[in-house]
Symmetry: C2
Subunit: 105 residues, 2 copies
DNA sequence: GCAATCGTTCCAAGAAAGTCGAACTGTAAT
DNA sequence: ATTACAGTTCGACTTTCTTGGAACGATTGC
């Protein structure tokens, strides 16, 4: 077999709704994570988690899910790990200036 | 007595936190209201309420409270009514570009 | 194959938020 | 004064979100 990794669902850009984006960003832990991603680019889940305070895996994974389903990040398999990427270019297209404002503030 | 109207508490600008602002904006009804205020300037509570779909007074008042406590609006007595104002200049100072991005999108 | 690792999903409990009727407060008009 | 009016607050209910342990699935290394 080749790569039969677990793909998680991601909303299309047109499906990304502003209220959901704002809600996902309204949690301090998730907001910090987005800022880390904006600064460091792509990270593995483990690296993401290492940035913040110690929190159970399941809790962290739930935050990733919220951000992913809102359309803020991509979460993709990479061997036995997973990489997390901010959908910056797409979000800049859909909501111009929003990410800049949020990450800068 | 002169004007002893009911003043409601408003956070100082420095006390306004980004997560609370984003949370307040993450509800479609509240987001719409902010957009109305951005477009029309100051409105009375009744005028605000008339913009959206019909909703009980108490529910609407609760949304106003959320927005006020987050620092997004001012709600001040005006005779027997109340006026609602977007704290735009202050917010632009505290979170440059945020309101523009949110209202435009 | 077997074990270890990485991370998600499942489930249950507690916390927070939304909704709305009813009661209440303050202002204006008569 | 009395009545009407504009909005907030209170209280109860429902819904959603958060949190974290345990189980599961997939991948790599031995």
């Amino acid at each position: 077999m080749t790569t039969t990794a677990r793909e998680l669902p991601h909303p299309e850009l047109v499906e990304v709704e502003l209220p959901a984006v704002l809600f996902a960003l309204s949690d301090p832990a998730r907001l910090d994570l987005i800022r880390e991603l904006a600064a460091h680019g792509t990270l593995t889940v483990a690296e993401c988690q290492a940035q913040g305070p110690d929190v159970p895996k399941s809790t962290f994974s739930h935050h990733l899910k919220t951000l992913r389903e809102a359309g803020l990040i991509r979460n993709e398999p990479a061997g036995r790990q997973r990489t997390v990427t901010l959908r910056r270019a797409e979000l800049d297209e859909r909501f111009p200036g929003l990410l800049d404002a949020v990450v800068t503030s």
